[in-house]
C-alpha cells in the first residue's frame, strides 16, 4: 500500500520534471535558433556596415552601394504608419470596450477584427493598391488634383500613387487589427472598480476614459504598439504590391515622394547572384534591427514615463 503511493508520488514528480525539461527545451531551441541567426548575420554583415554604407544610395557595384534611400524610406513609412494606426487602434478599442453595448453588431465587429489580424499582409497590399494608390480608379491619370507642387513640403495629390503616404497607410491597415486587439486587452485589464469609483464621484464618461481608463491601459497599449510596429517595419510584400520601388536615388522630401524600404532592399540584394550583395543584405538586416531597437526603446521610455503618475 505504502509502496504504491510512493510510486505514484515519484511518477508525479517525474511528470513534473519532464514538463519542466520540455519547457526548457522549447525555450532554448527558440533562443538558440535566434542566436545562430543573429550571429551568422552579424558575422556576414558586420564588415559592410560603415558610415559610407548608411550615407550612399544603391549601386550596381557592391563596394559603392549604400542604404540611404531605403533607411529614410523605412523611417518615413513607419512614422506615418504609427501616427495613423496607433490613435485609430486606441480609438476603436475605446469605443468597443467603453461605449459599445453587448450586441450582435459588436460581436460581428469583434469577429471581423480577429479575422482581419490573420489575413496575409499581401491582401492588404492589394486593397491598398486600389484604395490609396489608385482611389478605385475614380480619377484618371490626366485630371488628378493636387495641393502645392512637388517641391513643397506639404505637397499632396490625389490619388496618392506609390508614395510614402500610401505606403504608411498600407502598413497601418496591416497592423490596425493587432493594434485594436492589444488595446482592447489593455482596457479590459483595467479594474472595473476604478471606473465605477470615478463615475460615482460624478465624472462624465469622457473624464473616466481620459483620466482613468486610458492612463491605466496605456502601458499595455504601448507594448501592443511595439509589437505592431515591429511587424510593420519588417513588411515587404504589401509595399511591393502597391508598387514600392527597388532602386531609388533620393530620400523622401514630402508625403508624395517615391520610396523604398529596408525589407525591399534586403529582398533585392539577397536575390542577387553575386556574393558581395549577400553581405550587403546582411548588413542591411543589422541596420534594420538597430532601427527596430530604436523605435522600441523610444516606446519603452515613453511607457515608463506614462506609468509613473498612476503609481503614486
Amino acid at each position: 500500500m505504502m509502496s504504491g503511493r510512493a510510486i505514484a508520488t515519484s511518477r508525479r514528480l517525474l511528470k513534473n520534471r519532464l514538463f519542466l525539461y520540455g519547457c526548457l527545451a522549447g525555450t532554448s531551441i527558440a533562443i538558440l535558433v535566434l542566436c545562430v541567426l543573429m550571429i551568422s548575420i552579424a558575422i556576414e554583415g558586420w564588415s559592410s556596415v560603415s558610415w559610407h554604407f548608411l550615407d550612399s544610395f544603391a549601386s550596381r557595384k557592391p563596394a559603392q552601394a549604400g542604404i540611404k534611400a531605403p533607411l529614410m524610406g523605412s523611417v518615413w513609412v513607419c512614422v506615418i504608419c504609427a501616427l495613423v494606426a496607433i490613435p485609430m487602434g486606441i480609438g476603436t478599442a475605446i469605443y468597443l470596450e467603453e461605449f459599445a453595448k453587448h450586441s450582435r453588431i459588436k460581436r460581428l465587429i469583434q469577429l471581423n477584427i480577429s479575422n482581419l489580424s490573420g489575413v496575409p499582409s499581401i491582401v492588404y497590399g492589394i486593397l491598398a493598391l486600389a484604395a490609396f494608390v489608385r482611389f478605385f480608379g475614380i480619377s484618371s491619370s490626366d485630371d488628378h488634383w493636387s495641393i502645392g507642387d512637388s517641391e513643397s513640403f506639404f505637397y499632396l495629390h490625389f490619388p496618392f500613387g506609390p508614395s510614402v503616404l500610401a505606403g504608411g497607410l498600407t502598413l497601418a491597415l496591416v497592423i490596425l487589427p493587432i493594434m485594436i486587439i492589444a488595446s482592447q486587452e489593455a482596457f479590459r485589464s483595467v479594474p472595473q472598480s476604478l471606473r465605477q469609483g470615478a463615475l460615482a464621484l460624478g465624472s462624465t464618461q469622457w473624464q473616466v476614459i481620459w483620466r482613468v481608463s486610458l492612463p491605466a491601459a496605456l502601458p499595455t497599449i504601448m507594448t501592443g504598439a511595439i509589437l505592431a510596429m515591429s511587424r510593420a517595419i519588417g513588411e515587404a510584400a504589401p509595399l511591393l504590391v502597391i508598387g514600392g520601388f527597388l532602386l531609388v536615388f533620393h530620400t523622401p522630401t514630402n508625403l508624395m515622394s517615391d520610396f523604398t524600404v529596408l525589407p525591399l532592399q534586403i529582398f533585392n540584394w539577397a536575390g542577387r547572384p553575386q556574393g558581395e550583395f549577400h553581405k550587403l543584405a546582411a548588413a542591411a538586416i543589422l541596420v534594420q534591427l538597430v532601427v527596430l531597437l530604436v523605435f522600441n526603446s523610444a516606446a519603452i521610455i515613453l511607457r515608463h514615463k506614462l506609468q509613473k503618475p498612476l503609481q503614486s
Partner: protein, 332 residues
C-alpha cells in the same frame, strides 16, 4: 543574366562613344538643372541595364529622382498602361491586350528596343559527338529526372555520364533557359553544378570532356578558345550556330529582344527625354557589362530613330492583332 565585369566589345564601345558624344551635345549638357521624377518598372531581365543607366544618370542629373521597380514584364505593363510609370522595361514585345488597355486609358507610347538576351549551349572543345542539339534534347538533359548518360539522349553518343553546369537560380539567364527549354511548368534537375560566377562555369565545362552547360552568349564570345558552342536546331530543323550574327537576324532560337516603352506624355518632360537619351547613349556599353548582346548598328539606329522621332505605337501589334515575323524583320 549574370552580370560580370567584362570588357566591352570594341565595336559596341566605339558606337557608345559616338552616341555619348551625340548625347553630350544635346540634352545631358544641362542635366544637373533638371528636376522631377522618373518612374521605371517592368522586367527583371532588363533591370541590370536600367539599374546601371539609372545609377549613372543620377550622378549627372542629381536633382531628378529616378526610381526603378521589378514587377516583371506583365506587371510593369499593367502599371504602365494605367499611367503610373513613365517607362516600362520588357523582355517581350507589348501584347495586343496590353495595347488595348493602354488605348482604353488614353496612354500613347514609344517602343525602343535596347538589347538582345541570348543563351549559348557550351561543351568541351574535345566533345566531338554533340554536333547540334535540339530544344527537346536540351529538355531531356536538364529536366528533373532527365537522362544520366549521353547515350540516353542519342544512341550514337558515348555511354558516359554527363556533367551539367548552370548559372545560379537567381539569374535571369537561368529563368530564361527554364522558360525557353523546360517550358512554363518545367523543373530543372537538382544534380547540376550551379555557380553564380560565370568564370567557374567556364572552368568547369572546359575542364571536363563530358560537361555541358549554358550561359549568356556574350560570355561565350570572350571564352571562344576554351569552349565550343553547340548550334541549336530551330523549329524548321536547321542547326543555327550561336553568334551575334544569328542573334541579330533572329534565326538563333535561344535569343529574345529586350525593350523599354516610354509613355509619350512623359516623353515631353525634359527629364524623361534626357533619361531616355542617356539610356540609348550608354546602353550598348552597359549591355555588354551585364552580359547581353548589343543590337547591331542598323537596328540600333532604327531604335534610336524611333525614339528621336517619338514614333508612337508598336511594330508587333497591328489593328489589335499580333504581327508575325521576327523582331529584326519587323524592324528592318
Amino acid at each position: 543574366m549574370t552580370p560580370h565585369h567584362s570588357h566591352a566589345l570594341t565595336a559596341t564601345l566605339a558606337l557608345a562613344i559616338a552616341a555619348l558624344s551625340f548625347a553630350a551635345t544635346t540634352s545631358t549638357q544641362d542635366a544637373s538643372k533638371l528636376t522631377g521624377a522618373i518612374r521605371v518598372d517592368g522586367s527583371s531581365t532588363v533591370y541590370p541595364i536600367t539599374e546601371a543607366v539609372a545609377e549613372e544618370f543620377s550622378k549627372v542629373a542629381t536633382k531628378v529622382s529616378v526610381t526603378v521597380g521589378i514587377s516583371g514584364t506583365g506587371g510593369g505593363f499593367k502599371r504602365f498602361c494605367a499611367g503610373e510609370t513613365a517607362i516600362s522595361a520588357a523582355s517581350r514585345p507589348i501584347s495586343s491586350s496590353e495595347v488595348e488597355l493602354a488605348a482604353k486609358n488614353k496612354i500613347e507610347f514609344i517602343e525602343v528596343p535596347v538589347a538582345y538576351d541570348a543563351l549559348s549551349i557550351v561543351v568541351h572543345p574535345k566533345n566531338d559527338w554533340v554536333k547540334t542539339i535540339t530544344l527537346a534534347q536540351l529538355k531531356a538533359i536538364f529536366n528533373a529526372g532527365g537522362a544520366k548518360t549521353w547515350k540516353e539522349i542519342d544512341p550514337t553518343w558515348p555511354d558516359r555520364p554527363m556533367k551539367l553546369f548552370s548559372p545560379g537560380t537567381d539569374s535571369g539567364t537561368f529563368d530564361y533557359f527554364k522558360e525557353a527549354v523546360l517550358g512554363k511548368d518545367g523543373k530543372m534537375r537538382s544534380d547540376i553544378s550551379v555557380s553564380e560566377d560565370d568564370n567557374t562555369l567556364v572552368l568547369g565545362v572546359s575542364g571536363d570532356r563530358d560537361a555541358i552547360g549554358f550561359f549568356g552568349l556574350a560570355y561565350f564570345e570572350e571564352n571562344k578558345d576554351k569552349l565550343r558552342a553547340v548550334p541549336v536546331v530551330d523549329a524548321k530543323g536547321s542547326a543555327i550556330p550561336a553568334s551575334a550574327g544569328t542573334v541579330n537576324d533572329g534565326s538563333y532560337p535561344l535569343s529574345r529582344p529586350l525593350f523599354i516603352y516610354v509613355n509619350a506624355k512623359n516623353a515631353a518632360q525634359p527629364e524623361v527625354a534626357a533619361f531616355v537619351d542617356f539610356y540609348l547613349a550608354n546602353c550598348n556599353a552597359l549591355v555588354s557589362e551585364v552580359g547581353y548582346v548589343a543590337l547591331p548598328s542598323e537596328l540600333f539606329a532604327k531604335s534610336a530613330g524611333n525614339w528621336k522621332a517619338r514614333r508612337l505605337g508598336t511594330q508587333f501589334v497591328k489593328d489589335g492583332k499580333k504581327v508575325d515575323g521576327s523582331f529584326s524583320t519587323l524592324y528592318q
